[in-house]
Symmetry: C2
Subunit: 430 residues, 2 copies
Amino acid sequence: MADIRIISQSEIPEALALLRARSGDDLSAVNQSVADILKDIQTNGDQALFAYTKKFDGFDADEANLMVSQDEIKKAYQDTDPKLIDIIKKAAENIKAFHQKQLRETWTEKDGGIMLGQLFNPVASCGVYVPGGKAVYPSSVLMNIIPAKVAGVENIYMATPPDSNGIIQPMILVASDIAGADKIFKMGGAQAIGAFAYGTASVSKVNKITGPGNAYVAAAKKQVFGTVGIDMIAGPSEVLVIDDGSVNPRFIAADVLSQAEHDELASCIAVVMNQQRAEVLQAEITAQVNRLPKKEIAVNSLKNYGMIVVVDGLDEAIAFANRVAPEHLELCIENAASYLPKIRNAGAVFLGAYSPEPLGDYFAGPNHILPTNGTAAFSSPLNVDDFMKKTSIIGYDEASLRRCYQDIAAFAEAEELDAHARSVRIRFEE
Amino acid sequence: MADIRIISQSEIPEALALLRARSGDDLSAVNQSVADILKDIQTNGDQALFAYTKKFDGFDADEANLMVSQDEIKKAYQDTDPKLIDIIKKAAENIKAFHQKQLRETWTEKDGGIMLGQLFNPVASCGVYVPGGKAVYPSSVLMNIIPAKVAGVENIYMATPPDSNGIIQPMILVASDIAGADKIFKMGGAQAIGAFAYGTASVSKVNKITGPGNAYVAAAKKQVFGTVGIDMIAGPSEVLVIDDGSVNPRFIAADVLSQAEHDELASCIAVVMNQQRAEVLQAEITAQVNRLPKKEIAVNSLKNYGMIVVVDGLDEAIAFANRVAPEHLELCIENAASYLPKIRNAGAVFLGAYSPEPLGDYFAGPNHILPTNGTAAFSSPLNVDDFMKKTSIIGYDEASLRRCYQDIAAFAEAEELDAHARSVRIRFEE
């Protein structure tokens, strides 16, 4: 039996339903325990934070050891392959350069006696969550912290769960130092989110919390939303490759598999123009999957949510991609850039045969923290805007207000807000 | 006893604590009933929606009458004062003009064989919530819908609870027609949010839900966040006026009171430079509040959360304002615009003696849906960005990927993501 199914254009509705059913947004199983943890952190501060850190991470945290020290960072550099440090620095440069293009500046416009505009300011502080566990992703540390740094956030705090000895992976510390974290706290889970949202004696309250995490972290972020800002709720990831037959099928098979190794909920989709190409790809994927160290995860991901979709043409392929709203969209087609105006929903789009998804994960500069599971229909890659906020500017002189004050007063009175009306009338009538 | 207290600079910490304690973000009292309603809408669609509309609004909704008809809109125009219609149109023009300045365009940059950029697209659909009840705010309809229209959202749906006869206030219908709503649904509360988030036979699922509402609406928005995008969770509002003594104190008293009439949780703050000025303002506010139709609400708001703060100078005043992060910040000071670079946290800032807050509520153009209760520290006025989303663009040619593929592969291998490494290596090594 093949490792990945082939489906026809007429089966697209079922395919979309299958993908949507992956939804990671039902957090009801953990909501109550998360609410309890948050309440405890809010009420008991450090004491609760240290108790949960002991309970969940096995680490005896206290006021003295909760924060990573300069010595620990120095040691992390010593424990990391110098070549890798160089690569992390190069990647950080590219990420910084791309995000600098997202910076927006305060503007004002004067028209006679009227000044209008928008102030752009960074948030004063942010808390960046970096998951722990077996997976160690220094690239995600760069992607989380650099946009905040570029935005000009003065206090960038990071949280990541330690092991039971209070150790954090050296690569994580190196990446956070290169990216510019101001403080690193050895804490994880809902308790870390609570500490950032409410503050404790050891952890300052922040304005914004970003970064992916498990269901506890996601539920906690959702619950504290409103007390602080958050970025998004991460769900299972996906790649969708549109293949017009012009690219080596081995490349496409490898790209599909790069997403399949993430987890068994990941979805890998190739969209091709005919049945013959579908079969070539299917064979290539089956051949390549057997060579992967994470073969078991990849095979299950392909079985669960992998598919090769045969459509009638490129327009149909793009229409399907827009409905999936994939995290990663590869256009392995000729003149790929010319199709950009047709792309409506995707986290990131990769153009042509030599732009595989890992290029974006690690190196090109755009953020790899992307909207997953169809949320690209309404949300964006993590970006500098996530760490900034706007203030509207309104300045009228006397003559300008005089010209419109009666309209304002009449509008306010129609809404039965008489004190509003009076605040303009009093300037001219009494 | 005076209607508004005077406090000194040393009492600011208590004042901030009092303001923060207003927090409207504890939705725990309604969370469970909201979850039940949302589940019911998700499972039973129209049937549940109609049942809740009957239960909460007393209206017998069905497939035929849920949506406002063209005849109803025509009748609404006939029932509205033509002068008010003109004012609504003028305000709509100003709002449109300001929001058009927020539009962002897709950009790409080529550097040798590397193309990077960002696609900007509107969301395909949005659901705008307009509260019902006694208060009728056509201005909020404009402020909600026009940014979506400017963003280019193709399907702009509005929900507002009807009375028991299925009637919606004419001014609301006129404003939504002028603003450009595509469909208006007679539904409210958590059931309206559920219908937008999950879709029913009569209501299309949308990508984004915006607009203020009561605790049920706020809790529902928070719960569906992730399934759809949302704007923000609205809390009690506030105005903070910085008064250097150069502006007629009657103006300032009127501006303070314009916010006090909203509700008893609203906070009205004046910041002055000396005790004498504080007493002048206190007397003026007390005199003016007695003339207000909504005197009772205003008096309670002033008693609860009103304050005149005496500080040592303008720098202290602005530092305090930045800590409050008020929804509305009036700079009733000389050379107000020159202080803009010092403003860090505010929803909207109003410059000088002739820019009272209602100018922004109704007319100037910037949005009046603003971050409340200190959330200006991390969020922004409703704006065009709320209805758009970004897609990153990454395009490398063969030579460009060749230059960096080994770095990418090494980085991926350090993270134990071998399939990621293979997807770049396979293009050059096998």
